[in-house]
């Protein structure tokens, strides 16, 4: 079987983290299940967003964590 090529992301699941994606400005909820999230930090050169699913929105974190919100105009 061919090696599965994955997209480079430094998300890590850390139960009880104080910097969860839930509180990060780049995180938004999944369209259906609010315990799952979407990371919007991946921005394209045209100003779009290339999202990444966050399987555990409450307990995942990464080095890009920044508190706050992003205006709807800067989302997709």
């Amino acid at each position: 079987m061919a090696e599965v090529k994955k997209r480079a992301f430094d998300m890590v699941r850390e139960p009880g983290t104080t910097k969860p994606c839930l509180k990060c400005k780049w995180g938004i909820e999944d369209p259906t299940d609010p315990s799952v999230g979407q990371c919007t930090s991946g921005r394209t050169t045209e100003g779009g967003v290339w999202k990444r699913l966050i399987h555990d929105y409450y307990n995942t974190t990464c080095a890009k964590f920044t508190e706050g919100e992003v205006d709807f105009r800067d989302h997709v």
Binding site: M1, A2, V4, K5, K6, R7, I28, E29, D30, P31, T32, D33, P34, V36, Q38, G42, T44, T45, E46, G47, G48, V49, W50, K51, R52, L53, H55, F72, R73, D74, H75, V76
Partner: protein, 862 residues
């Protein structure tokens, strides 16, 4: 100064394009639309100025005051607990009755009254549908208050909700695949999303008191039959559930009458004790009289009709259960009352202008209507409230022109007041009268993005086709087949006293061919968004020795998704019939009343469909792969795989080759033949192998709404040359933005190659030049275009007529361009309420200008 269209050499002469309105020569392009609104009266001008918009974008509400209300949650839960042990359908009726004891709202200036939450800035929530959708509100800034009570209520419904009933029939992996909305849309049982075509006609023609009498009579007859000698179990046990159904109808209808009459009492109270303006006092007393009579009694005039319709709308779309849409054939429904009030002036006498004002008031009520939708649906209609789409035009059931003076009033109101909602569908037939088509043109030319145009003949033939599959042999008759409206933005469904679509489980929901393309090239695995298996293992790219190998792998991935989503809809339908009955809707459906079967269970006219969205990205990708890899052998699949996983970085020449491969929409036989096969063999062919709850096939309704942006953001780079995260194609059959380079008639030629009878519908977005459309030749050119469109047997077309200059100006100063409306796809939106990237994607759509070749093909005389 405004920009004029360039002169064209055509049939031996130079054709110039002066503006139809000479004054527009001096209106700058950047501010054209700010000069176009002309509300009919000071009242509607005031109502628009204070309109409580509920637009959403990127999952958030644009206005600050919007939030979830708690009252509906509280009242339905209270009733559910108190009715434990009663038949489920009776519990549903008692639930509605309790909700209708809640707060009613009367606002200043309005001629049509009624709101569906306890505060006109708030929206009701539906824990009995999806506990996840409500949880999303609870953990957001829109949380209903007190939030602890909301949490308790939502916890109660976790096991009782539609979502709670349906989920156990799927594996966790299947649920994760659907819920993330990347290859498939989440099932309605998880999102709470819904649609319905209420039988308005019955309410307006009969009144609810008559419906109660009918139900009481049926119960008497059933009880007599049950008690008669000689007991026969097979025949008579089935009467028990029918009796419950009719009893539930009576409970629901009595509660609705009582609720409407509370509005009457409130209007009278305010008129007699608080209102100081004499004219408004008189208006309130008239509204009180109307609400006392309707919907209890049949309507007698146009004001009655509008109010009865509005009450019915609130009940079917928001109070009893959430449903998107505003499906009805409004001109046909209201024309008898227009004749009474405007033509004959025998009851509620008024002028045509008064009727236009009334429609403007209706448009502003719809514009204030907020929906407690899940986050997913707050993402995908950016710049608007929800999908509210009414239909006009077409032919009557006797074959005569369906356009009438009520049609004109509806179109004039839309043109005058300029709101994004409700959108309008115009059913185009050659018999349609010229004065109405001119109004359609004026709305389109003014940049409203609607009416969107449907081919009348295709829609009517489709209703006949589906009727053949009726489980009780009572599908659409040839006369009934003419009575259709779009259920939401694209798909026809019957209107009338029975046989209408009552739930989205019958038709609706989406599947995403672009993401399916991506996972097909990765053995069903999603490397770019969810890092999980999203489909079956259909082979590594090394196994695709021929193009047909890839084609069949794609087919398998698509069928996996399609079978899952229809299974989800039918499981939902199964539980809707058991726990989510709608006794009020059943009471106003002649079939439900006659047969004693609830609207969620009964299906007389199948109408199964599902929406492929992002199809052209997949189609163009297949064309590029076939040409560059299998035909010309310029690249290998392995090289393509490396390029895609690098998001084309380091593979720029290759990206340009794939981006420059033949594209849809240019009348290019290489691309068009393959894409025709894709639409007919896979997109439609695989879907039609499925049989749904109603016994009919499921057919594809290609469209996009804002999902082309959302799914694009979850889709990695694709072989059409697209980068990861970029938007997908913005319609069901629209060329990808900027790739249609051979003019508007080349687009029509491409689209016409697909056999429309194999599809339920296909959305074609076209952007037309402002200077051409606003020139003195605009109407002539557009009518010729529409004639050609109709003769080519194309299902649909909708238009943006908006300049890039104005859109850029609106980006810089959004506060000055609040009236700028754009057609996103299937709905219109306020431009400044869309994300910047979304705005840019609309600007990137090809602005079609017409050249001499186009005029020749259209046969225009200029």
């Amino acid at each position: 100064m405004a920009k004029r269209a360039e002169n064209v050499q055509y049939r031996g002469k130079v054709v110039e394009f002066p503006f139809d309105n000479p004054a527009e020569e001096n209106v700058p392009d950047e501010s054209l639309h700010e000069h176009l609104a002309r509300p009919t009266t000071e009242r509607t001008k005031r109502l628009k100025a204070r309109c409580r918009w509920k637009h959403a974008a990127a999952g958030e509400f644009v206005e600050d005051n919007v939030k979830g209300g708690i009252e509906r949650m509280r009242l339905i839960t209270e009733a559910h607990k108190q009715s434990d042990g009663k038949p489920e359908i009776i519990r549903r009726a008692l639930g509605l009755a309790n909700i209708l004891t809640g707060t009613i709202v009367l606002q200043e200036d309005e001629l049509i009254v009624g709101y569906h939450a306890e505060n006109p800035n708030w929206i009701p929530l539906y824990p009995e549908l999806s506990y996840m959708a409500v949880q999303d509100y609870i953990q957001s800034k829109y949380a209903p208050q007190p939030v602890e009570e909301a949490k308790e209520i939502n916890n109660y419904w976790t096991k009782h909700s539609l979502q709670g009933h349906c989920q156990p029939y799927f594996t966790q992996e299947e649920l994760s695949q659907m819920y993330q909305v990347s290859t498939m849309e989440a099932p309605s049982f998880a999102s709470g999303y819904n649609s319905i075509v209420p039988p308005y006609e019955t309410v307006l023609e009969d009144g609810l008191l008559k419906r109660i009498e009918l139900a009481e009579q049926h119960i008497r007859e059933a009880r007599t039959q049950i008690a008669a000698p000689y007991w026969n179990a097979d025949e008579r046990l089935q009467l028990l559930s029918k009796i419950d159904c009719w009893e539930a109808m009576i409970i629901a209808d009595k509660a609705v009458i009582s609720w409407a009459r509370r509005h009457a009492r409130m209007c009278k109270l305010v008129a007699e004790h608080f209102e100081t303006d004499a004219q408004r006092k008189e208006e309130l007393l008239m509204i009180a009289d109307i609400c006392q009579r309707v919907p209890a009694e049949p309507c007698k005039g146009l004001r009655d009709g509008m109010q009865a319709k509005w009450f019915t709308y609130l009940l079917c779309h928001a109070i009893d259960r959430y449903a998107s849409g505003y499906a009805h054939k409004e001109d046909k429904l209201l024309f008898p009352y227009y004749q009474i009030s405007v033509t004959e002036k025998s009851f509620q006498p008024m002028t045509h202008q008064d009727a236009v004002e009334l429609v403007e008031c209706e448009r502003l009520k719809v514009s204030e209507h907020g929906a407690g939708k899940s986050r997913g649906y707050r993402e995908i209609f950016p710049g608007s409230n929800d999908l509210f789409i009414l239909t006009v035009g077409g032919l009557n059931s006797d074959g005569t022109d369906g356009c009438n003076d009520m049609t004109d009033a509806i179109l004039e109101a839309a043109r005058n007041i300029r709101t994004t909602e409700p959108s309008i569908v115009f059913r185009w037939h050659p018999k349609g009268r010229a004065q109405t088509k001119k109004l359609v043109f004026e709305c389109v030319r003014d940049g409203l993005g609607y009416p969107s145009i449907k081919h009348d003949g295709i829609g009517t033939a489709q209703m006949m086709y589906y009727g053949r599959f009726s489980k009780n042999n009572n599908g659409a008759t040839p006369e009934e087949a003419h009575d259709w409206a779009n259920v939401l933005c694209m798909s026809p469904g019957l209107v009338g006293r029975r046989k209408t679509q009552k739930t989205r489980s019958e038709g609706g929901g989406s599947i995403f061919p672009a993401k399916i393309m991506e996972i097909t090239l990765n053995n069903g695995y999603d490397w770019s968004y969810s890092d999980m298996q999203l489909g079956p293992k259909t082979g590594e790219i090394s196994e695709f020795k021929t193009f047909e190998d890839l084609w069949e792998a794609y087919r398998a991935q698509y069928q996996y998704g399609m079978s899952m989503v229809i299974r989800a809809k039918d499981i939902s339908r199964h539980f809707e019939a058991r726990f989510l009955q709608m006794p009020f809707v059943s009471s106003i459906d002649d079939g439900c009343m006659e047969l004693g079967i609830d609207a969620m269970e009964l299906s007389e006219q199948p109408n199964g469909w599902h929406n492929p969205i992002t199809t052209i990205v997949a189609a163009n990708s297949l064309v590029a792969i076939k040409k560059l890899i299998y035909d010309e052998k310029k690249y290998t699949l392995e090289q393509l795989d490396d390029a895609l996983h690098s998001n084309w970085e380091g593979f720029e020449t290759m990206q340009r080759d794939f981006a420059n491969a033949p594209k849809w929409g240019n009348d290019d036989d290489y691309a068009d033949e393959l894409i025709k096969r894709f639409y007919e063999d896979i997109i439609s062919g695989e879907m039609r192998k499925i049989t749904n709850y109603s016994g009919g096939p499921v057919m594809p309704t290609g469209q996009a709404v804002g999902l082309y942006m959302e799914v694009g953001s979850r889709t990695g780079p694709t072989p059409d040359g697209r980068y990861g995260g970029a938007v997908a194609d913005d319609g069901g059959i629209s060329p990808y933005m900027g790739t249609d380079k051979k003019g508007p008639t080349a687009v029509l030629k491409s689209v016409s190659k697909i056999d429309a009878s194999t599809q339920k519908a296909n959305l074609l977005n076209q952007r037309l030049s402002v200077p051409i459309m606003r020139s003195k030749h605009g109407l002539t050119i557009w009518l010729a275009y529409m004639k050609t469109w109709y003769e080519l047997n194309i299902d649909h077309v909708q238009f943006n007529v908006i300049s890039t200059e104005e859109m850029k100006a609106a980006q810089k100063e959004p506060e000055k361009h609040g009236d700028l409306i754009v057609r996103v796809s299937g709905f219109s939106a306020r431009f400044v309420d869309i994300s910047t990237y979304g705005q840019n994607s609309i600007m990137a759509r090809t602005e079609q200008t017409f050249g001499a070749e186009d005029y020749e093909f259209l046969g225009v005389n200029l």
